[in-house]
Symmetry: C2
Subunit: 265 residues, 2 copies
């Protein structure tokens, strides 16, 4: 579950409830990885309380402040037993630079492969893809210098995630990322919104706002390689979808799927 940040934590808590449900309901064994945050213990405890309020007894908080923390054997072992893993928000570069290549990282990847639900919110979401957006200008036209990217955690292949999407005017930077390699899908997730991704089924949008999917395969012309970093990019014939809760998107066929009740146009 890739969450766009600012998920509802006090009302209906649709997204958090869904994560808990996917991870086994009240019998879930959750691990909260607070590595992106500069105050990992606080961030971790906040989520422990939230999951506890939703009925989950077994919540292990990993407040990671340095790579030594990510190397501890006991932490990797706790992940081996987890049915759900939750990455908090903060700074995605902090998350990847602390975790990348550690024993904990390997354990997290194995957990994902054996079927544990892996979720991330805000920076935690941004870090879930192959290539992640580290930072970038919002509210300006797309330029190469607009967005900085780096390797992500690799839980989602073939796509770049952006979060707090509509709320922070981030389409320019997602377009900039996609222009640099249109094979990669752009997925922009609004606040209090998430995508559920599972094997052999389309991704599904949940939450109160929308997910914007940018498919660059249709791009006919681009000046990306010739343009200077601060020059405005030309990007033509991009295919864009805005999808609210209940809508889906098949990552393989790149087709939108409609909710059951939607009927025709």
């Amino acid at each position: 579950m890739i969450i766009g940040g600012a998920e509802d934590r006090s009302g209906k808590r649709v997204i958090l409830r869904r994560f808990v449900e996917l991870a086994g309901g009240v019998h879930a064994r959750l691990v909260v990885v607070a590595a992106a945050s500069h105050h990992p213990a606080d961030a971790g405890e906040a989520y422990r309380r939230l999951f506890s309020d939703l009925g989950v007894r077994k919540v292990t908080v990993m407040a990671i402040a340095d790579r030594d923390g990510a190397a501890e054997v006991s932490r990797a072992e706790a992940v081996e037993r987890a049915s759900g893993i939750f990455f908090t928000g903060g700074d995605q570069l902090r998350l990847t630079s602390l975790l990348g290549g550690t024993r904990l990282h390997a354990a997290l990847r194995d957990a994902h492969l054996r079927g544990a639900v892996v979720a991330g919110t805000s920076a935690g979401a941004a870090a879930m893809s192959d290539t992640m957006i580290v930072e970038g200008d919002s509210e300006d036209a797309p330029k190469k210098c607009t967005v900085k990217m780096a390797p992500g955690m690799g839980f989602l292949r073939g796509a770049v995630i952006d979060q707090h999407f509509a709320q922070r005017g981030r389409i320019g930077r997602l377009l900039s990322a996609i222009a640099q390699n249109p094979a990669i899908l752009g997925i922009g997730i609004d606040e209090d919104t998430a995508v559920e991704v599972g094997p052999a089924r389309p991704l599904l949008v949940v939450g109160s706002r929308t997910v914007t999917v940018i498919d660059g395969r249709s791009i006919t012309h681009t000046n990306t390689s010739q343009s200077a970093p601060e020059e405005a990019l030309a990007i033509t014939q991009v295919t864009l979808h805005v999808l609210p809760s209940g809508y889906g998107y098949d990552l393989t066929t790149r087709q939108v799927t409609l909710p059951p009740a939607a009927g025709s146009t």
Copy 2:
């Protein structure tokens, strides 16, 4: 010339120079219509100084504060002699509600038909289309209630204009407008950027940032009519182009045109 607002007024002044050039250079006879502004005299005088600095001697400022001002015969007569007309920024609803249906409005339309250059910036740009965006939420997912529209001045047919586009995160509201009638093209213009529109040729982008064109004809599914006003809209298969200076767009064929030096991909 439809200008996205905040055009450069002290540096190279590319957009303002281009307007003056199109209107006849130093021999242009310009009319500045300061009707959108709540301080029309100040706004008008500011542009008189700008055009005077660019060598134009004949600048008539029309500081319109009410409909009586727009009914004056002398003003309509000045427009009959104009080679260029410039609408200042402010509030587009103020502009249309003061001018719409007056003698001055008729004279402005006639001037446009006989070949005078008509330009508008910011709110002045928004008012130039058939249907204009009055106001709308920025930085949120598109919803029907996101954008309020009303009849514009009609200088540009078949498109809806938005301005200060990337800088104010306005793509959600432009998508909302287009979802309501995908026959209409969406044209979002960044600050210090403009489109030149002429008969029988593609529109041309000038300025330092970009123009975003949203073509909804490819939309395959929409929930616009069934959704409640505050519900997030689903809009699929929109075609989007981001075009910097030198790029063009043929409004009839809906094809992008490349600048001479762009070469292949």
